[in-house]
C-alpha cells in the first residue's frame, strides 16, 4: 500500500535521474558535433534533475525504517542492575561472607574467644560457689 507507493516514487525518480545524466551527456555530444561553445544545460534537463532528486529523497526517507524520536535514551537496553546501581557506594556486608570458609573460620575464632572469656568468668564464679559450699560443709561438720 503506502510502502509500494513510496517504492514506486523511488524507482521512478531514480530512473529519471539516470535519464537526466544521459540527456546531459547527449546535449554535450550534440554541442561538440555542431561545434558550439558550452554555456549551460537546457532548462528542462535542469528542472528534471532537481525534481527527480527531491522525489528520490522523499521516497527513500519513507522507505527506510520509521522516524525515531530525536531525544531518546542512549542506553535503552540497560537493565535495572546497571542503571540503578551505585558502584561507588558498594558495601561488602552480604551473603557471600556467610558462605566463605575464611570468614567462617574468623567467626569461629571469635566465638571461641568469646566462649573462653565467658567460661573463664564462669570458672571463677563456680570456684567461689564451691568455696562457699566447702566452708558451709566444714561449718556443718563442726556442728
Amino acid at each position: 500500500m503506502a510502502s509500494t507507493i513510496y517504492r514506486l516514487i523511488t524507482i521512478v525518480s531514480l530512473l529519471s535521474l539516470i535519464h537526466c545524466a544521459y540527456s546531459a551527456a547527449q546535449h554535450r555530444f550534440y554541442l561538440r558535433l555542431t561545434e558550439q561553445p558550452f554555456v549551460s544545460l537546457p532548462a528542462d534537463v535542469v528542472a528534471q534533475t532537481v525534481i527527480s532528486l527531491v522525489a528520490l529523497i522523499y521516497g527513500t526517507s519513507y522507505l527506510a525504517n520509521p522516524f525515531q524520536y530525536i531525544k531518546k535514551d542512549q542506553h535503552h537496553d540497560r537493565t535495572c542492575d546497571e542503571a540503578l546501581n551505585c558502584p561507588s557506594f558498594i558495601t561488602f556486608e552480604n551473603r557471600s561472607k556467610a558462605m566463605s570458609p575464611e570468614f567462617a573460620m574468623l567467626r569461629t575464632l571469635k566465638q571461641q574467644q568469646r566462649q573462653r572469656q565467658t567460661s573463664s568468668r564462669k570458672e571463677t564464679h563456680s570456684g567461689r560457689v564451691s568455696e562457699t559450699i566447702h566452708s558451709s560443709e566444714s561449718t556443718d561438720s563442726q556442728e
Partner: protein
C-alpha cells in the same frame, strides 16, 4: 535463560566482558572473580595498560565475593606498580571495610579526603562505611552533606533516594530522583522509577503524574516493558489487579475530566497492543509463562475497550 560458564570463555571474550561490566557499572562480582581466576590471570601482562584497571575491578569484586586473599594479591600488584597512589590506598581501605575494621578504614578515608578534597570517591566511601555498619540515618545525613558540595552527582542522589525509600519516606525519595532527572534527562530508568514512586504514593494527582512519567519513559525508550505495564496499571481498574488498587484507581478516574479519561484509555489500549506484540514474538520455550500472560492481556483489552 542462557547461562554462560565463565570459567570456559576465551581470553578475548573474558577481556571484553570485563570491560563491558566495568563501563556499565554492573555488580557481578562472582563472575568477575571467576573470569579473572580461570581466564585472565593466565597472562595478565598481555592486557597492557588495561591490566591495572582490571586489577582494580577484580579487587573490588573479590572483596564483594568475600575473597580477601585475592583482593590482597591485587592490592600487592597495584602497590608494586603505583607505590604512592591514593587510589590503591582507597582499595586498602575497602579491604579493611570488608574485614570489618571500620574505624581503621575511616581513618584512611579521612586522611585521603584531607589530602585531596576535590576527589569525591573518598567521601563516598566514608558514607559507605556508615552504610556497612547499618547506620542508615547517619548515612543519609552524610550524603546530604556530600551533596551540598558535589551537587551534580546522579549516583549520590540515586543512593539517597534509595535510602529514603528504605526509611519509607517516599516524597523525599521522589525529590532525589527528580534531581537525577535534572542531571540526566534522557535516562528512561529514572522516569520509570519516578512513575513507580508516584503510583505508590497514591491519590488522583500522583497517579496522573505517574502516567505522565511512564509515558515520558516510553517516549525516550520505546522498548520499555515496565513502563507499558505502568500505563496499564494507572488506567486499568479491572479484576486482574488486587482489590486495594481498584479503589485507588477509581478515585483517580472519577476526578479526571472525560477527555483525559478517554486519552488514558487509548494509551492503555496502545500499551496492551504493544505488550501483546512483544509476547507473541517470544517462543514458549524461552518463557513458559508467555502464553498465560498473553491470555491475560487479551482479557484486559476486552475489559478496557468496553469502557
Amino acid at each position: 535463560m542462557v547461562t554462560t560458564d565463565w570459567t570456559q570463555v576465551s581470553y578475548e571474550e573474558g577481556r571484553q566482558t570485563l570491560k563491558k561490566w566495568r563501563e556499565c557499572g554492573v555488580r557481578r562480582s562472582e563472575e568477575v572473580v571467576e573470569i579473572w581466576e580461570h581466564v585472565i590471570s593466565r597472562s595478565p601482562s598481555s592486557l597492557g595498560d588495561e591490566q591495572w584497571a582490571v586489577l582494580e575491578q577484580v579487587c573490588i569484586a573479590s572483596l564483594d565475593a568475600a575473597r580477601v586473599d585475592l583482593a590482597q594479591e591485587c592490592i600487592d600488584l597495584l602497590h608494586a606498580q603505583f607505590p604512592n597512589s591514593n587510589r590503591v590506598l582507597k582499595l586498602k581501605g575497602m579491604q579493611l571495610e570488608a574485614t570489618e575494621h571500620f574505624q581503621k578504614a575511616l581513618d584512611i578515608y579521612e586522611r585521603l579526603v584531607e589530602e585531596d578534597p576535590n576527589n569525591n570517591s573518598y567521601r563516598k566511601r566514608k558514607v559507605a562505611v556508615l552504610l556497612a555498619q547499618g547506620k542508615r540515618l547517619d548515612a543519609i545525613r552524610a550524603i546530604n552533606e556530600y551533596l551540598k558540595i558535589f551537587l551534580n552527582d546522579p549516583e549520590a542522589w540515586l543512593q539517597l533516594s534509595e535510602l529514603y525509600l528504605l526509611e519509607n519516606d517516599v516524597p523525599k525519595s521522589v525529590h532525589c530522583l527528580e534531581e537525577c532527572v535534572l542531571i540526566q534527562p534522557l535516562n528512561s530508568m529514572y522516569f520509570r522509577r519516578l512513575g513507580d514512586l508516584r503510583y505508590t504514593q497514591g491519590g488522583a494527582d500522583n497517579v496522573e503524574l505517574a502516567r505522565a512519567y511512564y509515558e515520558r519513559a516510553l517516549k525516550i525508550n520505546p522498548t520499555d516493558l515496565r513502563s507499558q505495564y505502568g500505563i496499564l496499571l494507572v488506567r486499568n481498574p479491572s479484576g486482574l489487579l488486587l482489590k486495594d488498587f481498584q479503589s485507588n484507581n477509581q478515585i483517580a478516574s472519577t476526578t479526571k475530566s472525560p477527555s483525559e479519561k478517554k486519552k488514558a484509555g487509548l494509551a492503555a489500549v496502545d500499551a496492551i497492543d504493544n505488550l501483546v506484540n512483544r509476547y507473541q514474538k517470544i517462543s514458549p520455550k524461552s518463557n513458559p509463562e508467555s502464553d498465560g500472560i498473553l491470555n491475560c492481556l487479551e482479557a484486559m483489552k476486552v475489559t478496557i475497550g468496553s469502557k
